[in-house]
Amino acid sequence: MATQSEAGAISAGTRRTTQMLLNQIFGPLLQILYFVIGSAVILGTIVIVLAFLLQGTRSDINLLQGTLIILPQVIVDSLVRGFLYAMIALGYTMVYGVLEFINFAHGEIFMVGAFVVAGFGLMLNSAGLLRDFPGILFVIIAVLLGAAVSGILAVSVERVAYRPLRNSPKLVLLISTIGMSLVLQDLVRIIATSTPLGFNARVLTPDLGSAIRLATLPNPGGRDINVIIDARSMIFIVASIVMLIFLNYLVNVTRVGKAMRAVAQDRPTASLMGINVNNIIALTFLVGGALGGAAGVLFGIRVQAINPYVGFLPGLKAFTAAVLGGIGNITGAMVGGIVLGFLEAFVASYLSLFTAGAFAGANYADIAAFSILIIILIFKPEGLLGEATVQKV
């Protein structure tokens, strides 16, 4: 047996260091940063080369110059889309991690978040408080409110529609999630149309500040290019990063986070450790739903006009992002969201520019997203960061 002092020294060696903690929290974010830079550089290079090659085909505009002028704006747009998909994709991937099914109602959980901020804005407005409400405070309250409502809603949906079916075939569960998706859409539609919100709800916000100029690029032979980011996009990006840090802390550092990972890897064995599996599954829905709801709030603030069906397409694309990153992998979902956001924004912005408007790019962004889904499913079904499913026995 080791003496008391020896034992102390040894256990100190096996305790977590601050360094380890920082790695666990910021490691995934660093990976996101790599993918942001990587996507920006690769896609940026491709469009510049394309512009250079196609230069001769156009006489009306200077293609190369046009490409360069919109490039910074496209990257900002990519980031907003990327973080949007990343935050929604987390809900899909976390639920898949613990229960191995796709919760198709998650897009609606996101949509509910957007309606929460619309309702909040409307209430403040009718109380006459909206105009003078501090912008940052409005965003923080709305995000917390949306996260709470959507999180609780996701937990309730699990309790009512998924838990009773947990031992049924996965297909039955899948159908239940699609059913819940339709139920939530129409529930929100009924509520919205019978209140002053209306079917096409406007998201009223206080003044959130004007656009921020990030840099001015010199442009020989023309006026200088201002790289600007509008305040709502800025809020979106900053808030997303804050929430991703929180999530990484929760999952990688805390005791419940460890329990969540254990339940995801092996449910029966996790219960042998004294983990209440049902509670952890509920917690997974709570966290995934809260992130989705927060994303919905930020989305509502940014687009300012919503309806009960706005969750469908972002939900489906976020699912694509989750598959792209490797379904079940939390960092993968964030990275997948970023990559998908970049691809979509670049297609949306440059396709019409390069084809002289023959293809209205924005409409083809969806095609780009889902083509990617099909290509991954064929060539790399485990995704960018997914583990191959083979395991040592």
Binding site: A2, S11, R261, Q265, P268, T269, S271, L272, N276, Q391
Partner: protein, 238 residues
């Protein structure tokens, strides 16, 4: 005094009648082994005790309290730990995280927790060397050590070991059995399920022989080892 008792337990997998009236008694401080061939119901017995399976008939008593209707996470808290068949360590968590999960029901800042961790690292020095490594990257023997260590971290009164020798090289098997004996000497009651009847009977105090869901023999380990039928069927002696 009997610590753990199964009385006429019947467990089913769907419609398959896996345990047909199993009665087992484990006394405090003992090593009891349950031997039998593949599919006899050995693992089913352990899974019924730990709550992963619910018996349709019969009772499971721990310290005189009925536990057969309790969920697994509550049974662990009473002091029953299981190192499951096939080790079932968490492959994408580190060795330390696996052990921390073993202590999930305890306060991780307490001196008891650190004492438990030291005890496991003393029993399995290999785990100390590899505590930052992911569980899935360990060798089979190391995974088994981790599974036992993780079960010990729950601070159990009785530990249920399901085929700890499975798939291990003979030298490792001996090492594992030595450690089981040491764990018992330190005061933990052991219920050991084994196909390697020879080794199991060598370290156990008492033994039960399970055949197609029924106990066909129970006696001291020595007597069971001398039983002619057992020698033929499980020990490969003629």
């Amino acid at each position: 005094m009997s610590l753990l008792e199964l009385q006429n337990v019947h467990t089913y997998y769907g419609n398959i009648h896996a345990l047909k009236g199993v009665s087992i008694t484990v006394n405090e401080g003992e090593i009891v082994t349950l031997i039998g061939s593949n599919g006899a119901g050995k693992s089913t017995t352990l899974r019924t005790i730990s709550g992963l399976l619910r018996p349709r008939l019969g009772e499971v008593l721990f310290k005189g309290q009925r536990i057969d209707r309790m969920p697994p996470h509550e049974i662990v808290q009473l002091g029953i730990a299981q190192a499951p068949e096939g080790r079932r360590i968490f492959p994408r968590l580190t060795v330390l995280e696996n052990l921390e999960l073993g202590a999930y029901i305890h306060n991780a800042n307490s001196p008891e927790y650190r004492r438990d961790l030291e005890r496991v690292f003393d029993l399995f020095p290999r785990l100390r060397e590899r505590y930052t490594q992911k569980g899935g990257t360990l060798s089979g023997g190391e995974q088994q050590m981790l599974a036992i260590g993780r079960a010990l971290m729950t601070r159990p009164n009785v530990i249920l070991l399901d085929e700890p020798s499975m798939g291990l090289a003979p030298v490792l098997v001996e090492q594992i059995f030595d450690i089981v004996r040491e764990i018992n000497a330190q005061g933990t009651t052991v219920l050991l399920v084994e196909q390697n009847a020879h080794m199991a009977l060598a370290i156990a105090h008492r033994a039960y022989v399970l055949q197609t869901g029924k106990i066909v023999l129970e006696d001291t380990a020595e007597a069971v080892a001398k039983n002619e039928t057992v020698q033929k069927a499980y020990l490969g002696l003629d």
